[in-house]
Symmetry: C2
Subunit: 186 residues, 2 copies
Amino acid sequence: MLYPNKIKKNTLKQVTYSNRGMDLENLINETNEYYLEKDQALIYKKPTPIGISEATYTDHGRIIKNGYFKAPSTLDYNGIYKGKYIEFEAKETQSKTSFPLANFHEHQLKYLRRVLNHGGICFIIIKINTLTYLLKGEDVIWFLDHETRKSFPYSYIKEKGFFIKDGYNPPLDYLKIVDEVYLERI
Amino acid sequence: MLYPNKIKKNTLKQVTYSNRGMDLENLINETNEYYLEKDQALIYKKPTPIGISEATYTDHGRIIKNGYFKAPSTLDYNGIYKGKYIEFEAKETQSKTSFPLANFHEHQLKYLRRVLNHGGICFIIIKINTLTYLLKGEDVIWFLDHETRKSFPYSYIKEKGFFIKDGYNPPLDYLKIVDEVYLERI
């Protein structure tokens, strides 16, 4: 795909042939593209909100000359799956023993609670020790409300979370877990 | 609210005290803020997707020095209301007799169809002749599939659409129409 400046989009896909080198965000983006192609779900990463201090007009349209990133107040991904509203956030940590809550903005954790209250499916995807887990929003909230620790112990993630297996295509089939955890238990 | 460069955010709110001067997008954004405050719904405008060709690091974090706007492939607003997935687009026209379909990207119209197929509530909000209407996605699709015209005649909008009354707070209470059209008829 060619962009206005004729620079090819730099994707990790071009240089890595296994999931090993791909970060969590890329794995999920590829998985979402797979779901979109198969018409299984419509789930997108929300663009990072941008503030624009300076813009100019060129032959290619409006161009940003000075912009900055704003802190997100909602979770990164949302969409629709089997008629249900889904929203989630995905984060990875280098720590092997716990997952620091500082990986999330405070606004995001408040927002997670609101999505649950409105009847949405809401969770976080956490990668720790090279393993990926889905942790239900309800279990995130329980921890925030009952614990004073500033990080999820790995034991809590293993106990409450649901392991998401790496795959080839899609690379991270988290909707399989959503089926099991949310939809088949109703 | 102060942004990194200490320029106050320029909002229409500061200069207009009636809806008359506000464009449709601002009316809807203010309405969504009202819904958010009242915890009635969680509905956001998606940030316009940006491509970044050049970025630099400063004391304030990463700054965009060269960026461009990408064409949206989904609709502008989405969120959750009473447990339902909602997605819509809002556009106004200066024409008094018809609403040109060219106001929407072709990708967006295809996407509208997909959201409906996945069981979401999907519509467009159209402002024509200073009046605002909600047109159900199903009626947009019907028109695309049965008509060759490149614009909705005003008569079609009046016949199929649902009039949204201007208000003070919220300025455009479109969820009242969503209640009537989608939720109370079940």
